[in-house]
Amino acid sequence: MNIASIFKGFINRNGWGLGSYLLIAVGFWLIILIILPQLSMLDFSFRHHLPPPEMGGPKDTYTFEHYKFLALGAQGADQSYNVVDLGVFVRTLVAAFFVTILDLLLCYPLAYYLGQASGSGYTRILVLFLIIPYWVNEILRAFAFRIIFGDSGVINEMMMTMGLIDNPIDFIRDNIALYSGLGYAYILLMIFPMYNVIESLDRNQIEAARDMGAPWWRIHWRIVIPYAKPGISSGCTMVFMLSAGALAAPQILGGPSSLWFTQIIYQWFNQGGNWPRGAAYAIVLLTVCIVIVLSAMRLFKVKMGDIGK
């Protein structure tokens, strides 16, 4: 009854054509594109890794095998925990966290400048400069980074001719190339939510604070940052989630000794052909990321609705 009346109200408000289009589009989006695939992955993660003929057979039962494997490793291994995979997992999350912080520090001043110095033609050009590089696809961008960060890449060459260093720095092995690549890849996702919020901040508030004697850092600390918090958290959430889940950049720019957790997932799906285990690993990554984001939001008193800003 209640749902029916909500439905009727919705159709009345938007008319039959638009109303049913909206319902079908949103329904398709939600159910076919989001809920069903994730549910099937969840289902997969609890199944045994079986050859195709045995699927649906008597051996096809639910199990925690794959989750156990991530935590404890293969049975009979000489360590009681899966040190390798868990190590990669933690390292991935820590690295994603630092990429997020790096992006935040880089982007906040830029977003502030864009948002508050706006009105001039410069800002539009600057925004264009930020957007256009994203027309270049991810693979090309990653390989280009590999080249300029390489032993004989532009950066090493330049520093050597300037006499700053004697031997080339191995940016790839030290993961500097990876962090730069990831940081760069998500800069826009950090800038735009912050820019949107800061742009709507009344300039007079900044001037009022200045009039009362506040130095620039206090103006940011007390006025701009609290106001921009929804944008900051929205940007950080996206950058964190996407860097933790990135695949191309770690594949191409990562050092030989450092795996990204997504690479392990990819290996299970692809080389190992073990989809259930891949699914279990991916679901653990997703769940832990969500828990981290939610706890951070709680810590900084951000409401869920703010993220949408």
Partner: protein
């Protein structure tokens, strides 16, 4: 009461590119005075105020506060506090934090800040409301919080940019009195900006009337009203009936103007226009609606005007008569209601008279558009 800190503008020009927003402003504001800038929208009032508060350096000329040249001194270092046109309260801080923000900047501890904020809250009659957010206050309350926040910094000069414009009429009138009282209590210099002449006249010791970047006249309210020095001031401040014509003769303080439609009319030359009118010049003569009366005798004289009555309007304390006036505009006469039934004269001609010293003759010039 302390003498307060004076503010002087010396030959201040402010340009934005080619555009001149303020032209040759010379203003001397006494310490402890309530000084208003009055002018229509876009005439440069906010711009002048920003040059006093330090957000804008004049392109030319000097701003002195307490006799010190303020060139190169930023807004956070000047002894001024600005109340913004839109108040600019900090929406995410509690009311008391807003009020005590200037103390927070100075590094005063929480308890002392809270105490000072509570004192100020008491002064603005908002005791106990310190823990609310600004969005939980009414318009007039926000207004008072903005004043308290500015006063908390203990400025020598308080700058107010049309702080009452967002309020409804009743509240605005109430806040006028309140502002004036606060000013007299704290005894500091107030520089007040408004486009509302009623506000300027009721509150200020002195008023500067501005038109398109130029200050036309600086005087006390009564002088501005009774002895305007330009046609713009005469038409902008209060209601006025204008008569265009040429100067026919001048005799000391009085001038005979031969008007386009009402014959030769006698009027007074106010102090500010002395020496600026010569025989044969284009002139404008202004008579206030309340200075007009129905003529006792019908003998034509140089203080009689005959015109057709177009409309009449009863307004309680006054009875307004609208007559055919100069240049397509209506001429208005306000008669005090003396409680007697009045006979309508609509559609017929009336002869009006005025006292010669109630009419002012000024050089022809631009009129206020309202």
């Amino acid at each position: 009461m302390s003498k307060g800190v004076g503010v002087n503008l010396q030959d201040v020009w402010i340009r934005f590119g080619e555009f001149v927003a303020v032209r040759e402003a010379n203003v001397d504001i006494e310490g402890g005075a309530f000084f208003s800038f009055l002018g229509p929208s876009g005439c440069g009032k906010t711009t002048i105020l920003r040059s006093v508060s330090g957000f804008l350096e004049p392109s030319q000329g000097k701003v002195l506060i307490g006799g010190n040249d303020m060139a190169g001194i930023g807004p956070n270092k000047r002894p001024t506090a600005l109340i913004f046109q839109n108040l600019a309260l900090f929406p995410l801080m509690k009311v008391w934090e807003n009020i005590a923000f200037s103390l927070e900047v100075q590094g005063v501890g929480t308890a002392a800040r809270r105490k000072r904020a509570d004192e100020l809250l008491e002064m603005i009659a908002l005791t106990g409301q310190g823990d609310k957010l600004p969005s939980e206050l009414s318009g007039g309350q926000k207004q008072r919080v903005a004043i308290a926040r500015a006063l908390c910094a203990e400025p020598d000069v308080l700058l107010l940019d049309e702080p009452l414009s967002a309020l409804d009429l009743k509240l605005r009138q109430h806040m006028r009195t309140e502002l004036r009282e606060i000013q007299q209590r704290v005894g500091i210099t107030f520089i007040y900006i408004t486009h509302d002449q009623g506000e300027a006249l009721t509150m200020s010791d002195h008023v500067a009337v501005m038109k398109a970047g130029v200050i036309d006249q600086i005087a006390d309210g009564q002088t501005i009203y009774d002895d305007p020095s330009t046609a713009f001031v005469a038409s902008f401040v209060g209601e006025n009936n204008v008569f265009r014509g040429k100067v026919k003769s001048i005799d000391g303080d009085s001038a005979l103007i031969s008007t386009n439609r009402s014959g030769d009319l006698i009027s007074r030359i106010p102090a500010g226009a002395k020496g600026k009118l010569a025989v044969g010049d284009d002139a404008m003569m202004f008579i206030r609606p309340e200075a007009l009366n129905i003529a006792g005798t019908k003998t034509p004289a140089n203080n009689h005007i005959t015109a057709l009555v177009l409309n009449e309007e009863f307004e309680g304390q006054t009875f307004n008569v609208f007559l055919e006036g100069d240049g397509g505009k209506e001429m208005k006469m306000s008669l005090v209601n003396q409680g007697k039934a009045r006979q309508s004269a609509k559609g017929s001609s009336l002869t009006l008279e005025y006292a010669a010293d109630q009419a002012v003759a000024l050089p022809a010039g631009e009129l206020a558009s309202e």
